[in-house]
């Protein structure tokens, strides 16, 4: 527009004055308002038009844009005659008048909301704003971020804002400012900062040495964190193996019963969780606690099935391992089919409570997923409880006595039949507990158990039959080794490599890591 004005005037001086006047006018007149009003209908346009309108609204800095943009990002902005309107509070609106967005608009929204919310009273919004600007990384945001940093008191948000400021400075035309930005980013241990630096490396030839040094500094700090995260993944897989194998360590390790239906007990534990959750879904007070409440339920259900199986079938076959193996295999298939008939072949949905979703940030910015962290704790708790039951209770004492010498135990007045049933029920109950945990990370289907039975036997045999400590060490060793191999070999080959490793190990040490010594081990 100014260009056309200038060309219409032959006199240079007066054109300059008019230029100046026009600029003044632009600043003084309600041009801002006009801009705002002319941009808003763009929010209901095509994706490209939307993205443009969002970016320009964000740059405008008009606070009236904030509710509109926020509504747009939450798909609560509706088409209205001649523009848009925000949907009233309540359930999410639906229908053709809801304005849909795509990822491109979402990216634009994140930057625009970042600009508008940087001074929000809500700390969570300020944090999100800093992260949004980090990804937008535009040099125009430098003064905005500097101003916000001067006012910010929360250390965590400050750290994020400093990151965003560093990233914004990388886009500055002034090499000194860029260098300051590189130094700021290089001083962090943030993968995002690293990504921003690497993206800048290609465009900024002059400072590539600085960038490389900064990236190397971040890599040094990150390497420790990455090792910790890999270790966590290994521990997490190990805890799953431990849970699956613990019950087997009791039934197979202590009693010597090869229970091929063990996996099905795990599966029944998972289905018990589903049933408990569905039963409690209607109750607002109990529903959030459905998962903890499923723990005793799963234990009791699987223990009862285990006791019935031991009394009804297995006790007739003690000392005949091959027949026991075939029998329990058959029972496993029957259980699987019963569950399929009752619940259907389709996977069942389990609800994860909010405290099991998302990530948890540990010291040194190590991030771990909540559900996995809980399962590690749960596995250790179950292990501790099992250990206590075997070592510290009367039942555990009788159990060990029966295992060591059945006839002498019987002469001491121990009802060995009852102890056998209880031991088997106890092992089965632990399998049920594993099912509760697995329902949170795996699909609850009638086949759930089959994928864990091999792993469970592997852990018990590798750790040493009859040794709880062996099961613990065995499970975590296999988990960590698997996760260390995975990046090199891929998920499929890593598993194969672990299996081959165990085969070789068993050749050398047929009794596993922690072999029982003494007379009990000989028999």
């Amino acid at each position: 527009m100014p260009a056309s004005l200038a060309s219409g005037d032959p006199h240079g001086t007066s054109s300059l004055i008019r230029w100046f006047l026009l600029l003044l006018l632009l600043a003084a007149l309600p041009a801002r308002g006009q801009d705002f009003d002319s941009l808003v209908p763009g929010l209901a346009g095509g994706f490209t038009q939307q993205a443009e309108a969002v970016e320009r609204l964000g740059a405008l800095g008009d606070p009236r844009a904030l509710p509109l943009l926020r509504a747009l990002s939450e798909s609560r902005l509706l088409r209205a005659e001649g523009g848009v309107r925000v949907a009233p509070d309540g359930p999410a609106p639906s229908g053709p008048e809801v304005i849909r967005i795509n990822n491109r608009v979402r990216v634009a929204l994140r930057g625009a909301l970042g600009r508008l919310q940087l001074v929000s009273p809500d700390p969570a919004e300020r944090l999100a704003a800093a992260d949004g600007l980090l990804r937008a990384r535009s040099a125009e945001d430098i003064p905005l971020l500097e101003a916000a940093l001067a006012r910010e008191a929360v250390p965590r948000i400050r750290a994020h804002m400093e990151l965003a400021l560093g990233a914004a400075r990388l886009g500055s035309p002034d090499p000194a400012v860029r260098r300051a930005g590189i130094a700021a980013l290089g001083g962090t241990a943030s993968p995002e900062a690293r990504a921003v630096l690497l993206a800048a490396r290609g465009t900024d030839e002059a400072l590539s040495a600085d960038v490389n040094a900064a990236v190397a500094a971040i890599d040094r700090r990150l390497s420790l964190r990455r090792a910790a995260e890999t270790a966590f993944q290994g521990l997490s897989l190990g805890s799953v193996l431990l849970l699956a194998a613990l019950g087997l360590a009791v039934t197979f390790g202590v009693m010597g019963v090869i229970n091929m239906a063990h996996g099905e007990f795990v599966m029944i534990g998972a289905y018990t969780t589903v049933v408990v959750q569905e039963a409690l879904r209607a109750s607002p007070t109990l529903a959030p606690w459905s998962l903890p409440l499923a723990i005793p339920a799963a234990f009791l259900v699987t223990a009862a099935i285990g006791a019935a199986m031991e009394r009804g079938l297995i006790r007739h076959l003690y000392g005949r391992p091959l027949e026991t193996l075939l029998l329990t295999f058959g029972v496993g298939m029957v259980l699987q089919q019963v569950v399929r008939l009752v619940f259907g072949a389709q996977n069942r949905e389990v609800i994860s409570p909010p405290w099991m979703q998302g990530t948890l940030t540990l010291p040194f910015d190590i991030t771990v997923t909540q559900n996995r962290a809980w399962i590690i704790l749960f596995a250790l708790a179950v292990l501790a409880a099992t250990f206590a039951a075997i070592r510290l209770t009367r039942f555990g004492l009788e159990m060990r006595a029966v295992v060591q010498n059945r006839r002498i135990a019987a002469t001491m007045g121990i009802r060995t039949g009852r102890v056998d049933a209880l031991t088997f029920a106890f092992g089965s109950g632990i399998a049920g507990l594993a099912g509760v945990a697995l329902s949170q990370i795996d699909n609850v289907s009638p086949n759930l158990g089959t994928s864990y039975i091999i792993d469970s036997f592997m852990v018990v045999v590798f750790g040493g039959v009859g040794s709880l400590l062996g099961t613990l060490i065995g499970a975590f060793t296999l988990g960590v080794v698997n996760k260390l191999l995975e990046p090199w070999a891929g998920a499929v080959l890593a598993k194969v490599a672990v299996l081959v490793g165990i085969m070789l190990f068993i050749q050398r040490r047929p009794k596993g890591l922690f072999a029982l010594k003494g007379r009990a081990a000989e028999s």
Partner: protein, 409 residues
């Protein structure tokens, strides 16, 4: 428009009913085999397809069957067990003597039954998008070939609306479909200037549940300063823990969008999709398509399944198209003889729920539109891109060097 046609057809069928009643009683029923896994890892996807075939059989019978002959479905369960697929196919053809079969989801199961159908000259309708590189005279492929799904999806990711991805992660289940598709995609990406250093490729077994390591590695791969996107050919129920892990590790679609080729409305039904908003799927149909044929389809399905909240998806639509075409071909041929029906199939047209007209081409593949959808918080897809017309299938991909001398058409 197609609504009117189908109503007219229904009226014609009703009108013909009393006339053909004697033939109806005399003619042996036409047997329709259903070869979908009802248990195991693929049951999550395939059970709905069995129900779709049963629904179409019922709907056809309510219109008087075909040529006065009633339809009768024969359902078998190959239980996600690939060798069992071949045995069950043989059972359908030799014991039950079915006239046509609808079945299979995974390519490994299709490869397992293909020799059986060719040996016994059966007829199989395969309703799922797949990797191409196949053309059997006994199979009609009503799903998409790579140029009707995989390649347009990756083009979208590399375009301005998809985020201009410069680095691609190819994640898949370890079997023939993901491996072949990813081979084609690698050829395509290389032709677009994306080098192998910017491509990460990983495979996992069926039913894989421990995604934490892979998702963490994807994050790391994406942290190299170039815009990264995931292309997922993960199949079956492994998708549930995969998406859960994406959500838990906070991978947002704005940062690393993930486009899936085997995840539809049915697979999302068991997941909380709020953390997944913006991740994508590429199909030739979405339930959210606004067309009269689609409204009829959704209504028919919900009435049949007696659940107003059940969803429809692309392979169900492909099953429906295949079934309608087969019924038209049988009516044209006047017989269920495989050879006659095969000839009559070519050139059949159906107004598909996708809102486009699909035609069966001589290569036994359909013309289809390509649609890209973004996952919404309610588990549905919002269509963010679609082709203006239905495109023909290239089942022999030009991105596989061995196909250079092959005649295309």
């Amino acid at each position: 428009m197609n609504l009117r046609i189908s109503r007219r057809a229904a009226l014609l069928g009703l009108g013909a009913l009393p006339l053909s009643a004697p033939a109806y009683a005399q003619g042996a029923p036409i047997k329709v085999g259903v070869l979908h896994s009802l248990s195991g890892t693929m049951a999550i996807s395939e059970t709905a397809l069995r129900d779709t075939v049963l629904m179409m059989v019922e709907s056809q019978n309510s219109q008087g069957g075909i040529g006065g002959r009633r339809l009768e479905a024969v359902v078998v369960d190959p239980a996600s067990n690939w060798p069992l697929f071949a045995e069950k196919a043989r059972e359908l053809l030799q014991v039950h003597r079915v006239d046509v079969s609808f079945g299979c989801w995974t390519s490994v199961s299709r490869k397992s039954v293909l020799p059986v159908y060719e040996e016994l000259n059966g007829l199989l309708f395969y309703p799922v998008q797949y990797e191409g590189e196949e053309e059997s005279r006994n199979i009609f492929y009503t799903g998409a070939a790579p140029n009707q799904q995989a390649i347009p999806a990756v083009e979208y990711l590399m375009g301005p609306d998809g985020g201009e991805a410069k680095r691609i992660v190819l994640l898949g289940t370890d079997y023939v479909y993901p491996r072949t598709t990813n081979r084609i995609l690698r050829g395509f990406l290389n032709s677009k200037g994306i080098t192998n250093a910017d491509i990460m490729e990983e495979y996992t077994p069926f039913g894989h549940s421990d995604w934490q390591g892979i998702v963490a590695r994807v994050k790391r791969f994406a942290g190299e300063g170039k815009k990264t996107a995931i292309v997922s050919t993960i199949n079956g129920d492994a998708n549930v823990p995969f998406y859960r892990e994406l959500g838990n590790q906070g991978i947002k679609a704005e940062d690393i969008p993930c486009v899936a080729f085997s995840v539809g409305e049915e697979e999302l039904a068991g997941i909380d999709t709020r953390p997944l908003v913006g991740h994508l799927a590429a199909w030739n149909y979405f339930m959210s398509v606004d067309s009269p044929a689609n409204r009829d389809f959704v209504q028919l399905w919900r009435n049949y399944i007696k659940n107003p909240r059940r969803v429809t998806n692309d392979p169900m639509e492909a099953t429906l198209i295949g079934f309608k075409m087969w019924a038209q071909a049988v009516a044209t041929a006047g017989t269920t003889s495989v050879d006659a029906v095969r000839t009559a199939m070519i050139g059949q047209k159906v107004a598909a729920p996708s809102g486009y007209e699909s035609e069966m081409k001589a290569n036994h593949h359909l013309t289809k539109p390509v649609m890209i959808g973004e996952i919404q918080a309610d588990g549905q897809f919002s269509i963010v891109s679609k082709t203006p017309t239905a495109i023909a299938a290239e089942n022999w991909s030009p991105f596989i060097p061995e196909n250079a001398n092959r005649r295309r058409g």
